[in-house]
Symmetry: none
Subunit: 316 residues, 6 copies
């Protein structure tokens, strides 16, 4: 009855060539190829990798005023965002197919009807292509001024069917969403096994959060972070005063953690790169011996707590 | 990824030759030609332009009594109304095609089955011809005695596809419908970009409302108004006592406003004419930086407010 | 059966002495006294008058980073906020009682249990003291980084009973909330008569919005705005580069509009001051002849639109 | 308006003298005195400190059988448990009063009516004495065979009023309850400021969880752990085969973390001891600038998630 | 903290001298004295011991008719019943006091106001005298024609305080009430320790039920049964045709069972007598290691089942 | 109107070949064939028959620690569990169809989404195949560390329609669930006629509980128990020290009881085997003359007790 439940997973630590989609996809392809050559089954790219994370910008905002230059910057950012699904996700699907791996990628999504931008993670299956997306439900601090808020309709846990006897349930949670307990509980309820966390949070303390979640959810946690030098930003981008072009703007911290809290790879800091880990999904079952946070598991107290999730969105 | 999002739009300020469909279409054609020569992409005609707005008439009604003469007047008005779609919209379609522009035109629509008249706006696409109509959902005051009430089935936002990379979502709202917040919210929810407001409201204060809507909806607002002298009414039409034939019966006030509330053209008062403006649809995106009233935008509070719209009509 | 339905109302245009509560209350008292001497029945103070609007600050935020100095600035701002109700609203109540007038005042409210700040309007009745508050439901742009979002529990329309035969229903809507159609519809549904709009929006175009709302809601609109020179900000406050201390930072624009869109006072621009108007609540009835936006009025189309409002907040 | 919000807090790392209540209280008193001499305001003792954690025991259980010796061991354990409130909490209250500090202490509670044991944390106020208790809602693994499950009636957040202007909201969460997201959310909703985590989890990875919770809840986290050598267990206690009496059975790991994830003290490993930290409750406010997980805070998405908590227990 | 929790308990197997209260009390006194001499702490007498169980009688009833003789028989039975409390319970109290033991005695209770008879168990404390009664809630078969139905107001669990450190919670359940699961659950919820079951059910299978209840409730079960020869009935009592006077009419079956299902005494069959057992209340705690049926115990599933009990009687 | 209500029922006493599904099904098939040859209509297999009951194991747990070996043992156990419904229940369905009998079988169920194991009884109908399952709601003692807790959604009473005029309502209750009064009451409320009790409780006292339930519920009780020698456990399984391979590890005790408490077959002890009994469902009606524990029966006191059952589970 038992079959091999092993997979190879990877996280890519890389920065976006801001406002240059071609280069962005080139770099992505390079890492996908590298992962494929190492027989990786699933790879995660950082938050906002496609579209970019224009760190340090304020889009010309101060309390009580917005500038025309800020509006133009926003338009440029909008135009560099992608539709999901759309032509770019089609390209990603063909890439995933060639490389025979599943991808979770942070993108800036443009919802053209309403003109809203979302910080989104797309799920690309090697066979089915684009299968699902998750829109960040709560942007952090300054992000709140440029990104909309995802709703309950994009909180998927996707089953990646690697072979007839090997599959994994995959979710995505972006950056500080990882501090929203009810969102995590929602994914646990759906039986997430590979919990992907694209981010741009480069604090060292981030590894505590990733480790905690692996333990709490008894799942593998894959955190992919951006890495950028100051010189990587396009000319004219507002950088901190006196910043050394060779200095590090986004330090990374990508890592892979097992369901019992062991760090399998990383945290990778202060350089770009690909981290991989051989994982055994059976470790999730081993870990559930003494904790299961699902609604029907040991740690459910459905007589005390009930979590209602509106997955029908605005109309629901 | 970014392409030119510029269009030229126009509003026509003109009065209906009452009870004379041929002359009505002639005048319309004259302005369409003029607009076409100026490379206009989209033009709006006033409320009730085809069929007419018989200002000052009471159709023989007093509280509790109707006269036979009034009934005859209604019959004449009914016979000058058009079916939508029908032969007249076919003519309009061919006109739009020749002029290569999109038209939103106020008409009096005859629903022959029930014998009801509606104050309607028709949408004519240069390629597809007649594409949609909006029936005014709430006639104002005395209008309520001659026009029926549109329902939720005719609240379209139509996509005008100018070229493969240039399109605009167009809606129509007639006269005081512009004071119905939920109707506007409905159009915002559908992502309206060019908000057309055919009207016969000629008060100066109308410009406040048009400006407010542009700001609130982050959309372009095109208001087209009728202009008529007293002498333009057919003989026998009930005019105010002592009105000077050279005096102005409907003063106009047509205008075009940008998504940040800048008046791009007009208000044109006290004369007939064509107003045009070069617009950049990207200004909508620029404006959404700090406000987005769609259900998923910054200004949505779907946890507090939920707007239900019955678009299925009476049976729905 | 008919009795005199006249009142005298006022709006105060004044700037906050930032981080100085004593001076803030002193100035407020001065204007309340002045209003009282003119027999004003109801007076409105601007958005964030108590607590202040630290225009131009970013609280040390850029995309992807927050500074320790920004956190300290936030703490200072937090400590200058007030509890509602609390000691300061008690003082306001006693002031209202002495002056025998109803006050609507913009304040920064501190919710101590959760540590959240709200941009709030408090309603102070001359007899009952503190009667209600409204928390801004959607902060604009940069504001979103320092203020929480009010929910459906604080959307009151308060009845101010001036005398046994004279009363008015009063609401408050803060700054760009005035661009949320469903919020306004909610107040119309509750029969608002005096619609107070404390704000810091000092664009000239603001008057269009105030005028439109008066027309749409058939209510009196009272907009109170802040006025400040650059020199009025405390030392060290981040001002725009090169700003002249004598220059104007917040230009005002306070005004009073009648239900038919007539501007009764203002807009007052580029100076501090008190505006008053004598109003006749019967004008609201006069205006409802041809438009009534309440759920049971002429302009309700409950067969098409239904607005659901969750006034029970989180638990609802 | 701002006052000093500083406190001194402590966690005690100490092992229970198993089955010897007198010695247990003696040791507790020694540490309370030490804390008092250092002007500590609040001190936390480990999980099950009173009553003890008989690590390595199975109470004679195997799958499908229980032994008489195991039943006797359970009786002895039952008799060493305390009633809450009861004579022992009275003693603790008097101790707290003398030492002028607030105590959170892990105890084994005996509910005599039903004969159930609970793993409980008691809250002892220096002025009011025993004020509240929290019963662990979900024992872990083998614990499930000897302890009952607390319900929603004992999930308090207690306000410790140190002085008229200085107070803190204190909660307790025992050991792996810290992996129940909805329990933590419940405490965040109640505005916890000092989150006490008595535990016997001595894995190094525990510090990740404590750090994560501080960041997620923007609160101070005080984790107090047991420390015991093998020789500290009473004779006859079932220890792992071949365990060296001088070896460490429970390694500790107590620590204190700030709301921004900085470890202020500890983790203390491999010895007994008292850890203290000077804390500034205002750091909670500083931290709330960019995250607030309460229902009304930035990170609440009450339109997506709703957490229902039954605090009425069995009868509710 | 642990003290001796041992008691000696007894059940009396004895038949009622029908319609002869003096002899009834004489026999009772004899057994009480015997028990007292053996240092018994608590003794149980059978169902209906005082008042009697007139086995084989139909009180002259057939379906649809009642006879005058039956009415006279009922009157005699009524007159031999006692008021509770009343003179007879006073005598019992003095007896209990002299013998220094707690008594649970089955009686026929006369409720004079309504003229209803109840099959009741009275609780007599050696110090406090009469303390409580339980009225059988459901008479069986023919019993239903002479006894009323008790309600929720007489379902007590009484604490018998033997000494400052030794007490027991005592309940009573009469005959086939022992087949009502919710009644038993109610007593378990109240923490019953000594479950008394006065009965006249003399089937051998009765011992299965007594054993099951001890196991299910983790309590001591004391079943006291009547023993009578045919010759013991008064002359004229309707006996089965051809019954041998020396034959046994009520065969007994009294017994005492421990919380783990061990039969400590009995079943005593085919003779009168006193059964005693030394019990250790701590065996209840030992037994709760692996089962606790109280609402907060291991076997409570308050999220699935909720038992509501109306203890306020008819009006409640 | 009356038709023959006779059936032949059976219980199988057999032990699981641990961790060997093929042999497990082989043995099952052997007994099903044997039962079929004897024209049995319904057969019950023991608790955990498929998946097995690894008696004596502790899965490496002691209070406060879990071993890696224990986690591996759990994984092995998990992999030997089955999905319900799933391929194995399909096989069982085909077996039931061939044998033309209804089966109730104890299995270990794997809920793959959450990784939780349940001790489940499956109901297999000869015509409809898999029809329902019951998950044990409360594992006993050590079991609590490896099995989850069923909820109210799997408490079925299934109608087995043997022929147009002969049907029986069948329930299942596993091992010590039989000590949960409210669960039994729930089944009585649903009119259970054949109460199946798969178990591994091999104490002699178990027969008291089975007999009591038959009497209390006025239903047929079919208890099927496991029988195993020590030598039947796989090599390396943790057995009691010094246990003789020929010794008995699980002694059985299977039995069949009638609604009036008569033991119709068994208890079979110390050997494997099949027990059968011819039953007459009309005996249930005969037994209800003097007792009926359903909510509308003689023994219901709905004015005193009300049992609420949440059959909607987590979402309810």
């Amino acid at each position: 009855m038992s079959t091999d439940q092993k997979m190879k997973v990877a996280v890519v630590q890389v920065g976006t060539p801001l406002y240059d989609l071609d280069k962005t996809l080139e770099k992505l392809e390079k890492y996908v190829t590298e992962a494929s050559e190492q027989n990786v089954d699933l790879v995660v790219f950082p938050e906002a990798y496609i579209g970019g994370y224009p760190k340090y910008s304020t889009f010309g905002m101060h309390l009580g005023e917005r500038s025309a230059a800020g509006r133009d910057e926003y338009l440029k950012y909008y135009n560099n965002a992608i539709e999901v699904p759309g032509p770019v996700t089609d390209k990603l699907a063909s890439l995933a197919n060639q490389a025979n791996l599943y991808m979770v990628i942070g993108v800036i999504e443009r919802e053209s009807t309403t003109g809203t931008l979302y910080c989104t993670a797309v799920h690309i299956d090697p066979v089915q292509g684009y299968v699902a997306k998750h829109r960040k439900i709560m942007p952090t601090a300054q992000e709140r001024t440029i990104w909309g808020f995802g709703d309950g309709t994009t909180l998927p846990v996707v089953t990646y069917q690697k072979s007839p006897t090997l599959s994994a349930r995959v979710s995505s949670t972006i950056c500080w969403e990882n501090y929203v307990p009810m969102l995590r509980q929602h994914y646990y309820n759906k039986g997430v096994q590979i919990y992907c966390a694209p981010t741009v949070d480069t604090r060292e303390v981030w590894s505590s959060t990733m480790t905690h979640i692996a333990l709490e959810g008894r799942c593998f946690v894959l955190s992919s972070n951006q890495f950028m030098h100051f010189k990587d930003f396009p000319e004219g981008h507002p950088l901190p005063a006196g910043s050394d072009p060779e200095g590090i703007a986004l330090a990374g911290g990508s890592m892979i953690v097992s369901p019992l809290g062991t760090i399998l790879a990383g945290p990778l800091r202060e350089k770009e790169g690909l981290l991989t880990a051989d994982i055994d999904l059976d470790d999730i079952i081993r870990g559930k011996l003494d904790m299961d946070n699902s609604p029907t598991g040991h740690y459910s107290r459905s007589d005390i707590f009930k979590l209602l999730v509106n997955e029908n969105g605005f109309q629901g």
